[in-house]
Subunit: 334 residues, 2 copies
C-alpha cells in the first residue's frame, strides 16, 4: 500500500530514520543501559523493535502502559516511573501478572500503597531539581529503610532532570549537579539501579546505570531544535482541503486534535504555519515553495511527540512512499 | 458508585451544570435553530441528551463523527461542516447510510469530491473573516450554480466567525459585519439554511437560521473568561500523588495527555497551576487554601474543552459525588 492511499490525518513513521535513531542510541547505551520510556510512543509493536535491538527493560508512566507491555510479552523488567496511591489500581496491575514490575515511591503513602497493591520491588524517586514527584535526596535513605521494613525490595533510585532536557547553557555542568543529588541519595539507599535521564541528556548524563529515553525513537521539533543527532521519524500526514490563493494560505485536514500543542505550533514541510484549529492547520508557502493545491498531501512535524501520539490509533510505518508495517498505539489511556 | 471510587485521571460531567447549559441554550435557540456541534464532546450519548432537548440536527467535523452519529440513530440531519476531498472516505460515509448527510463545499474540487463520494446535499462554505476554509462570498453564487449543475442539492450557506468567539471589543458589531458577507452570499446561493456561529457568539449572531454551538454544553476556562452565562460542567478528576511542603507544591496524576493545551494551562480548584507534564499537573495552594495531602482528589478545569475530551474514553456523569451515568466518548478519531 502506498502512503497516498491512507485516509488523513494519519501518523507516519519513517522507518529508516527510526532505525537510525534506535541504532545510534543502542551504540551509546546498549542493552540494559537503556530503559526505553514507552510513554513517548505508547505502542507495544514499537517497543518490540527496541526489545529486538537489545533493550529488554522498559519504563512506563501509567498502569495501563505496564499492563499492556506485560500482556504483549514485554514484561521482562517494567519500571512504572511514577507515583501511584490507588491500591485497587495497583492490585489490578500486579494480580496474576508474570511481569517483573518495579514502581517509583517518594513518600510513606506511596510505599504503603505499593505494599497493599501487591508490588514487590521499588525505586526511591528523588527530586533532582524539577518540581514534580520525588523526595528530597536527604530523605531517600529513610524511605528506603521504611520500604525494606515493610518487605519491599528496594532496587535503587531514580531521578529525572526534566528541567534540563533542552538546556543549551552548560547542560553538562547542570546535569552533573542534578545527578549529584541522585548519587548522594543512592549512597544512602543502595541497590543496583540508578535510573534517570532522557533523550535530551543522553550525552551529558553519564552517571545513571540506565537512561530513561523514549522520544529519540520518533523525535519532534522541540528536541530537533536542541541539535540532537536523532532524525525526525514521525510525521502527521494530512490533505490540503482548501486553498485561498488571494489570501496566500492553504488549509490541511489535521489540527490540534491530532497534535500535542503544549510546545506550540507544529511545522509544515514547505510551509509556514499560521495556526492550528481543532481539525485544521493553516499555513502559507515557505520561501522557495509554492502553495499546494487542493488534494495535495503535506507532512506536518509535531512539536511534542508524546501527546501527539496519544491522540492516534495507529502508526503507519513507511519506507519512502510504501507502507511497510502498521503499529497500533495500544497503550493509550490510564 | 461514588466519584471517589473512580480511577484517575477521569473526566467528570456535572449533570446539573450540563442541564442548566442545555436548557439555557434551548430557551434561546430552540429546536432546529440550534445545530449542536458534536466536535466539542464527541459522544453520541451526550448528543442524545440534546436530541431529547429538541435539537434533531447536528454538526460534525469529521467523517467518523458523521458515521458514529448515524449508527447511533441520530442521523436525522447531519452536517459535516468541513471540507473533504477523499472520495473513498466520502463513499464509505454515504454508502448504505440512512442518515441525511449534508457536507460543506468551498471549491470546484470539493464539489467534485461530493458528487463522486455519493453526497447529495451541500452547503456553500463562505469565508467570513477567519483564514481557514470557505470561499470568497462573491464566489458563492458561482459555486452553488456549479454544484446544482452537477446534480447536488444546495441547501444554503455556512460560515464560521471563529475569530470573534472570545472578542470583547464590540463583538456585536464585528459579528454583524462578518455575517453580512454570509448574507450576501446567501442572496446569491439561495436555500433555506444559513448556518454558523458558535458558543461565543450565541447572543450576538442573530442572523443565522441555525447556530453551530457545542462547547456551551461542557464549557472551559477560555469561554468562562469571556463572561458567558453557561456553567462549567466538565472537570478532570485527579489524585494528588506527591506533595512537597517545603517547596510549596503538590503534584496530581493528570497532565497534558489528559488536557488540550492550545489555550494554555488548566486551572486547579483551590490551587495555582505551575505547569503540566505528560501525566502530571503541578500546583501550589491558592490564597485561602491549604496544600492537599497525598491521596486527596482535586478537580482540574480544562482550558479548551474539545481537545481535552478527545483524549478520553469516558465521560462520568455526576450529581454531587454520585456517578449517575457514563457517556462513552465514541466519536474520537477520523
Amino acid at each position: 500500500m502506498n502512503v497516498h492511499d491512507l485516509a488523513t490525518p494519519a501518523l507516519l513513521v519513517d522507518v529508516d530514520a527510526f532505525d537510525h535513531n534506535v541504532h545510534l542510541m543502542a551504540s551509546d547505551r546498549p542493552g540494559e543501559r537503556l530503559r526505553p520510556h514507552v510513554k513517548a510512543f505508547k505502542s507495544t509493536a514499537l517497543a518490540h523493535e527496541l526489545d529486538v535491538a537489545g533493550h529488554h527493560g522498559f519504563c512506563c508512566a501509567t498502569p495501563r502502559e505496564v499492563e499492556g507491555m506485560a500482556a504483549a510479552g514485554l514484561g521482562h523488567d517494567l519500571l512504572l516511573a511514577n507515583e501511584v496511591v490507588d491500591v485497587r489500581r495497583l492490585q489490578a496491575m500486579t494480580t496474576g501478572s508474570e511481569a517483573r514490575i518495579t514502581i517509583a515511591v517518594d513518600s510513606e503513602e506511596t510505599i504503603e500503597a505499593a505494599v497493599r497493591g501487591g508490588v514487590s520491588e521499588v525505586l526511591i524517586d528523588v527530586n533532582v531539581g524539577m518540581p514534580r514527584c520525588g523526595c528530597a535526596w536527604r530523605d531517600a535513605g529513610r524511605l528506603a529503610e521504611l520500604a525494606r521494613a515493610k518487605g519491599l525490595e528496594v532496587r535503587g533510585v531514580m531521578g529525572y532532570e526534566g528541567h534540563l532536557m533542552v538546556e543549551s547553557d552548560d547542560q553538562a555542568g547542570k546535569v552533573e549537579a542534578a545527578v549529584a543529588k541522585l548519587l548522594q541519595a543512592h549512597d544512602e539507599v543502595g541497590g543496583d539501579v540508578i535510573s534517570g535521564g532522557g533523550t535530551g541528556t543522553w550525552r551529558t548524563n553519564r552517571w545513571v546505570t540506565e537512561l530513561q529515553a523514549g522520544s529519540y525513537t520518533l523525535m519532534d521539533t522541540a528536541y530537533a531544535a536542541s541539535g540532537l543527532p536523532f532524525r525526525q521519524a514521525l510525521f502527521l500526514w494530512s490533505t490540503v482541503v482548501s486553498v485561498n490563493r488571494q489570501g496566500g494560505y492553504a488549509t490541511a485536514d489535521a489540527g490540534l486534535k491530532a497534535l500535542g500543542m503544549d510546545h506550540g505550533n507544529p511545522q509544515v514541510q514547505g510551509g509556514d504555519v499560521w495556526y492550528c484549529a481543532d481539525e485544521h492547520t493553516v499555513f502559507s508557502a515557505a520561501e522557495g515553495h509554492d502553495l499546494p493545491a487542493v488534494g495535495d498531501r503535506v507532512r506536518i512535524v509535531p512539536a511534542h511527540v508524546d501527546p501527539t501520539v496519544a491522540y492516534h490509533e495507529l502508526l503507519h510505518v513507511i519506507r519512502a512512499e510504501e507502507i511497510v508495517d502498521t503499529w497500533p498505539v495500544d497503550l493509550r489511556g490510564w
